[in-house]
């Protein structure tokens, strides 16, 4: 939340603007986008700020092109990003899968609005949780992070770039209309205070470079176009040299490795923000804008003697099962409020396996769940 004191520059920013600041702090030098409500401010501010730091902003002809352009830029060495909302996010899915399979670091922001289809363009929603996980075809690994405050828009965007570079994967940030458009005062940390991670580049002689060879991390060093490590990049399933293959003994290790590189680093990737969970009897699991209402409801419930605890999910995918699971055998009930018909609650129930009672609050009318709605339920529970 916003309480931590830093010595940085005090600014009043929208969530969308704070994402731009976070991206620049993380070293983003390329942004491609297409106008869409409620994400457009990210493009607008990028178009002003990126050229001033020597970067490049381009408005493409659609979101398919935006996604293609950020992959191309990343292959040529740039830290790249795009931002969109539901309909545009749908268009990005094919190329998002390419980035997963070709292991191209990049950051994709989806400022969620009401769906399906054109839906409710100016209203808040959290209904793209499952699309963020499974939107592109085929089994694929992905990292999805959710933000709930302006401060997190900054911090988590930095983190998203770091994870993308570290694990050579697209990272999706799920924001939403409320988070994107809420103005809050935050302190922007000084550049030296921020951890910035860059992709590991090959350092062996080029003729020894095997671009997709496994190693202990499961993340091969990444050559970039023009640096002397010529190799083939394809969306086809490929062998360790990057060339298309149909051999089962090459397909299986490849697909296993790209999943393993995420799964074996769970504890580096999983982020939650817990408050009052230690002795909680009712655990509230929330994310994004709803986490703001939930946090207040939990604090007020405590004042009324209800032993509620708050678990804000920042990492949505891979799902933070390892963190949530121990609570399920301990608490009397879990409450999952969210702005959809039950996408994260479905995952909680899947993990729960009947260990405790899981209740939900679902709102799909384009409005935020209020602290009161959650508080009333907590008292009843």
């Amino acid at each position: 939340m916003n309480e931590q004191a830093t010595t940085g520059r005090q600014v009043l920013l929208q969530g969308n603007e704070a994402m731009v600041e976070g991206a620049l702090a993380a070293g983003c030098t390329f942004f491609a986008g297409y106008p869409i409500t409620p994400a457009t401010e990210i493009s607008e501010v990028m178009s002003v700020k990126l050229p001033a730091v020597g970067g490049t902003f381009v408005q493409m002809e659609d979101e398919i092109a935006s996604m293609g352009a950020i992959i191309g830029a990343s292959l040529a060495g740039a830290k790249s990003m795009t931002a969109t909302s539901g309909p545009g996010f749908s268009l990005m899915q094919e190329n998002l899968g390419f980035a997963c399979v070709a292991e191209v670091p990049c950051v994709v922001v989806n400022v969620m609005r009401g769906g399906p289809s054109t839906g409710l363009p100016t209203n808040v929603s959290q209904a793209d949780v499952m699309q963020a996980r499974w939107g592109t075809h085929g089994d694929h690994p992905i990292i999805v992070l959710a933000v709930s405050t302006t401060k997190e828009c900054f911090d988590i965007t930095v983190k998203a770039f770091n994870l993308a570079e570290k694990y050579r994967t697209p990272v999706i940030i799920l924001s939403d209309e409320v988070v994107g458009h809420t103005r809050e005062k935050i302190s922007l940390p000084h550049p030296g205070e921020i951890e910035v991670i860059d992709r590991i580049r090959p350092n062996m002689p080029p003729e020894w470079y095997v671009p997709y060879e496994d190693n202990s991390r499961g993340v091969p060093p990444m050559g970039i176009f023009g640096d002397g490590y010529r190799y083939h990049v394809t969306g086809l399933v490929h062998d360790v040299r990057g060339f298309p293959t149909q051999r089962p003994d090459e397909i299986v290790p490849f697909l296993n490795r790209i999943h393993r590189k995420i799964s074996q680093h769970f504890f580096d990737i999983l982020m939650v923000d817990e408050e009052l969970t230690e002795d909680a009897e009712i655990l509230v699991v929330a994310y994004g804008s709803v986490a703001r209402s939930a946090r207040r409801a939990v604090r007020e419930a405590r004042e009324r003697g209800v032993k509620a605890g708050m678990m804000q999910l920042i990492t949505l995918w891979p799902f933070p099962r390892q963190i949530l699971e121990p609570y399920l055998s301990r608490v009397k009930a879990v409450l999952v409020p969210e702005l959809n018909m039950g996408q994260v609650s479905r995952e909680v129930k899947r993990i729960n396996q009947g260990a405790t009672r899981v209740e939900t609050i679902n709102r799909i009318d384009g409005n935020l769940i209020t602290p009161e709605e959650i508080l009333v339920r907590l008292i009843k529970m």
């Binding site: 352009a69 040529a76 790249s80 176009f225 023009g226």
Partner: protein
């Protein structure tokens, strides 16, 4: 022959990725040959060349050559190439597409890339059909032709790729054929050197999926058709409409100097820096 062997050893991933996927007699190999000869003549370092393709038979072309190679999704090659070029304008970025790839699924990207005018080279191999998937009609399949999805006859009208590129604003547009291979070498070389978005449409043959079904013969007959129906642009002035009716032009259709995106963007950066400095 010695010259050819030298180029094979210098540019092909001969020890890694052969045999190739193309049918005997396919025009794709001729285009690849022209491309390699053009790049060799220009003396570019292999590290500085990025070869980008989409999906289809043409999409497999980059895998065989020892450049930085990028085999993207269907129709989207130009979008990836745009990102590569913007991130590193010093790279020579060449995009290979097919007719369906560039003008059906990728049609929007094609016209906008032409309009945007990055310093990219687009080579479009036009064989009038979707070859890899088995002969379905494409945006360049002629009216009345047969295809596996037009078994009664094709009732749509074809795009003229080169003319489309001219209208969309490309800085240089040329058309060649795989029959006129020497000319193709020169057209591709000129297109690569051209500052701005350059397009080379290459009329090619798919005897397997298009020629066979439309009784146009094998590779040799289809190449002969190219020879008989292609007219050099320079010669069209002295030819009547009737004479030109069944023919198509080859050569450089348009060559114009337009502001290049990356050069223009440098000015945007200066303006942005000045504005930020003033605000401080």
């Amino acid at each position: 022959m010695a010259e050819v062997t030298k180029l094979i050893h210098k540019y092909l991933r001969h020890d890694k990725k052969f045999p190739h996927v193309w049918c005997p007699g396919c025009g794709n190999g001729i285009v690849l040959g022209s491309l390699i000869r053009a790049i060799d003549k220009l003396g570019y370092e292999k590290d500085d060349v990025v070869l980008v393709s989409g999906i289809g038979c043409s999409g497999r072309l980059p895998v065989y050559v020892d450049f930085n190679t990028l085999h993207t999704t269907h129709g989207r090659a130009l979008t990836f190439a745009t990102g590569v070029k913007l991130a590193n304008p010093n790279l020579h970025v060449i995009v290979i597409m097919g007719d369906g790839d560039a003008t059906a699924i990728g049609g929007n990207h094609f016209i906008h890339a032409a309009r945007r005018n990055l310093n990219l080279t687009a080579i479009i191999i036009n064989n009038n059909i979707y070859g890899m998937t088995g002969g379905q009609y494409s945006p360049t399949t002629p009216y009345g032709a047969l295809a596996t999805t037009a078994m009664y006859r094709h009732i749509e009208h074809a795009f003229s790729i080169a003319e489309l590129a001219v209208t969309a604003g490309a800085a240089m547009v040329a058309r060649g054929t795989v029959y006129h291979a020497n000319m193709l070498d020169k057209l591709i070389e000129k297109a690569i050197v051209k500052r701005g978005f350059s397009v080379v449409e290459v009329v090619s043959n798919c005897h397997t999926q298009y020629g066979r079904r439309n009784k146009l013969g094998g590779a040799v007959e289809m190449l002969r058709w190219q020879k008989d129906h292609a007219v050099r642009v320079e010669k069209t002035a002295e030819m009547g409409e009737e004479e030109l009716a069944d023919r198509f032009t080859i050569g450089v259709l348009v060559d114009r100097d337009l502001p290049i995106y990356t050069e223009e963007y440098k000015k945007i950066r200066e303006a942005a820096r000045a504005k930020m400095a003033a605000a401080r």
